[in-house]
């Protein structure tokens, strides 16, 4: 698909491609923004009506005191982890193929955690008293811990988005000045903190990015654990499970990476980033999904088996309702549609195509939302004195508010990439520079070894030579490097 030249050429145009949404987002950009903004606005109207009428208008009742909104909090804050981790772990392990994805992944992390956190507001009966969490907190409450954990994590993910952006802002600044976009140019120069790319600055920046990439991993683990403790610190059957914290963390990673796949595909399509993001990126992200999907399935079995085999009346009743009872349809839909099918799609080589990977990722996110609904509503429905189940129904209000959250993800991302470069320009350039240098060194040593003067990078007549180099090289860096591997594949 990609030729050697077309792989090199876009690197030269990288700066342009990364800034294209800022300068010319295209005709359909406004259309998309308008439609999405209308959905969000409708959701906000629905929420205002809900505040006016009371939480009952969202389908809540005494036997379903927690339901869709807290499930949304868990889902949205959960998917945020994917963006943070794709970026952080791949950065820390030096996986260079990540470079074209990091900006999109990090922005997704920021946007989704903010949306997830805002679902707290429709969840509360008295959102106007929210500030009490700050001025009269009860430190023993897991909800207060949630508040602290989510705000810390949201702040960290913003920093994690912003730091790698610094050098790109100064790159973008030149282009903005060229095109006469002075106002944005001024903001860029303010935000880039006098970045000039000298060695000291680079060292400092790389150090800070490394640090925050490390920090964000335990932070995210803590957020999802604390979120699970909002449930498992109560004595309700199925909520009161020690496995819930790791269960939530794995669910977050699984659904989060799936969302990154979807978002990357979306922006690749609308902003024509095919030159930088290709099928291999999707295949790799898909492969990362496999262990998480399998682990989640495993944890599901581990969660249910002991309590179903022998246990207290309450736990047995709730598990029976989930596995063979009133929630069984949704539960098995999740098991097959959300775990088995997507894992198979990603794992089998012949189904590993962009189209199928996208379907798999969409299935993962939809069914994990469904799973959260079951996890929240099931135990809430169960009356612990009566042993009976209540019921919960969605209403147009709760559905509108939820759809607004879904629409807000692409909307906010479209707006973000209207003002910041969509690709990590500096990071990608650095990687290409670095790898070119590495390759040249290898070539040099091979040349010296072979006394052959004619092998050079990208020389079509000497492709065999390059393949030999790549094969001969034991360097993992080379094997994973974007540009080289593509060359080797073509040969």
């Amino acid at each position: 698909m990609t030729t050697t030249t077309s792989n090199i050429a876009p690197i030269a145009h990288l700066r342009k491609a990364a800034m294209r949404p800022v300068f010319e987002p295209g005709k359909r950009y406004w259309l998309a923004v308008c439609i999405l903004a209308a959905i969000v606005a409708w959701g906000i109207v629905a929420w205002i009506i809900q505040v006016h009428r009371g939480l009952g208008s969202a389908g809540y009742n005494n036997h379903a005191f927690w339901a869709i909104y807290i499930a949304n909090v868990v889902t949205f804050v959960g998917v945020s982890y994917g963006g943070a981790v794709v970026s952080a772990i791949l950065r820390l392990t030096g996986a260079t193929w990540r470079a074209p994805l990091t900006r999109i992944a990090e922005a997704t992390a920021v946007v989704t955690v903010l949306i997830g956190a805002s679902f707290i507001f429709p969840h509360l009966g008295r959102p106007e008293r929210f500030l009490e969490l700050i001025y009269r907190p009860n430190l023993s409450s897991p909800i207060f811990w949630d508040f602290i954990a989510i705000s810390t994590y949201a702040f960290a993910s913003i920093v994690f988005f912003y730091l790698p952006l610094l050098p790109d802002l100064s790159v973008g600044h030149e282009q903005l000045v060229d095109k006469g976009r002075n106002r944005l140019a001024r903001i860029y120069s303010k935000m880039s903190w006098k970045w000039n790319g000298n060695t000291r600055q680079r060292k400092l920046l790389n150090g800070s990015i490394g640090l925050i990439a490390i920090l964000i991993i335990p932070l995210a683990v803590s957020v999802h654990s604390v979120l699970s403790w909002a449930f498992s610190l109560t004595s309700r059957p199925w909520w009161h499970e020690s496995i819930w914290a790791p269960y939530f963390v794995v669910a977050a990673l699984y659904s989060g990476i799936a969302l990154v796949i979807l978002i990357v595909a979306l922006f690749r399509k609308i902003y024509h980033l095919e030159d930088y993001i290709n099928e291999r990126h999707f295949v790799r992200l898909g492969l990362i999904l496999v262990p998480f999907g399998a682990t989640y399935l495993y944890l599901t079995v581990a969660d249910f088996l002991p309590g179903s085999y022998v246990g207290e009346h309450g736990v047995v009743s709730v598990f029976a309702a989930v596995i063979i009872g009133r929630y069984a349809l949704w539960f098995w839909l999740f098991v097959f549609g959300g775990c088995i099918l997507p894992v198979l799609i990603m794992a089998l080589p012949w189904t590993r195509r962009i189209g199928t990977i996208l379907i798999g990722a969409a299935l993962v996110d939809a069914s994990l939302w469904l799973k959260r609904i079951i996890m929240v509503v099931g135990p809430a429905n169960y009356g612990r004195v009566s042993g009976l189940f209540g019921s919960y129904h969605f209403t147009w209000i709760s559905i509108s508010v939820t759809l607004a959250g879904v629409a807000a993800i692409p909307l906010l991302l479209l707006l973000v990439f209207r003002v910041v470069p969509i690709l990590s320009i500096t990071e990608m350039e650095e990687i290409v520079d670095h790898e070119t240098k590495l390759l040249e060194e290898k070539l040099q040593s091979l040349k010296d070894f072979n006394h052959s003067d004619q092998i050079s990078l990208g020389d079509p007549s000497r492709k065999i030579g390059i393949r030999e180099i790549v094969h001969a090289s034991s360097s993992a860096q080379l094997a994973t490097s974007t540009s080289l591997e593509i060359q080797a594949e073509e040969i």
């Binding site: 009966g125 008295r126 929210f130 009860n138 409450s141 909002a230 809430a380 612990r384």
Partner: protein, 292 residues
């Protein structure tokens, strides 16, 4: 941190003020024979029932406080349900709903029809258990649920943010949310909405049984206690070790519980409820389940 006029138990100190459970009830400075009989005597002399007896609790508690070994002179309210007499008429529920202007779903005291392991059915009313270790209080993110020095767990609806975490935490399903605008309340002159008198209920906040905390200081019986035609419900005071029902029957609490094999419902949740049940229909203590 909690700038409320009500005395609240700090979470860190709740264990110190925790009042002993059934097993060591006799150990807690029982009412002296004279004071206790004196109470009964007063009751016999005057025909007004509950009111003055609870006041007597108060007086004798004061006497106790000064005489005995530093036991708190505060009331420590408790409730006993003598299930032998309960016929499930739900008069308690109705009396409560009427007094607090509640909707029909808000069964602050709820009568469950239970199935005993021996196959008999019996009725069991469940008010708020006024747990000594109330999980609802620990999880409340803003301290809107608090515990008074007299062992009453109350909700400040002016502070409640409506997160419903307390509903998740309460093992007894004793909390009821105001999902829509509450029905208009019958106004009682001179009574202002407060945690003790949560009438009318406030929309989008949580409410629950308060044991008629507004009545107790005046020596009046809670609505459910007064409304039970069978005299099933006793309101008592662990400090004075006495309890009374709507029939004016005064009992020595510790003896009453011990001699009748009283138990607390679902004690395994570790919340130390302040409500005892006296079995009478072959109940298997905690293992029975509701049948309706």
């Amino acid at each position: 941190m909690l700038n409320n006029e009500y005395t609240r138990v700090k979470i860190s100190s709740h264990r110190q003020r925790q009042v002993d459970s059934t097993s060591d009830l006799p150990a807690r400075g029982p009412l002296s024979r004279r004071a206790f009989l004196g109470g009964i005597g007063t009751l016999g002399a005057t025909t007004i029932a509950a009111t003055s007896v609870i006041e007597l609790f108060a007086q004798s508690a004061q006497a106790q406080g000064t005489a005995s070994t530093g036991t708190s002179s505060l009331h420590q309210w408790a409730m006993v349900f003598d299930l032998r007499n309960c016929d499930g008429c739900k008069a308690c529920t109705m009396a409560c709903q009427q007094r607090h202007s509640l909707t029909s779903e808000q069964t602050w005291i709820k009568v469950y029809t239970m199935q005993s392991s021996a196959g008999q059915t019996y009725h069991m009313a469940r008010p708020c258990m006024m747990c000594e270790d109330p999980p609802c209080m620990y999880v409340c993110p803003v301290g809107a649920t608090f515990r008074t020095d007299e062992g009453l767990v109350l909700v400040d609806q002016e502070a409640c943010i409506g997160c419903r975490t307390c509903m998740a935490a309460c093992p007894y399903e004793a909390r009821y949310f105001n999902w829509t605008t509450p029905p208009p309340a019958t106004k009682i002159p001179g009574m202002k909405q407060s945690p003790e008198w949560p009438v009318p209920q406030i929309k989008d906040t949580v409410g629950k049984c308060v044991w008629c905390a507004d009545r107790l200081p005046h020596g009046e019986l809670p609505a459910c206690v007064a409304g039970c035609p069978m005299g099933v419900i006793y309101i008592g005071d662990l400090t004075t070790d006495a309890a009374i029902n709507s029939a004016g029957n005064v009992v020595k609490l510790s003896d009453f519980l011990r001699n009748n094999d009283a138990y607390r419902f679902q004690e395994e949740y570790g919340t130390n409820p302040r409500v005892w049940y006296i079995p009478g229909h072959g109940q298997d203590l905690n293992n029975d389940s509701a049948s309706s």
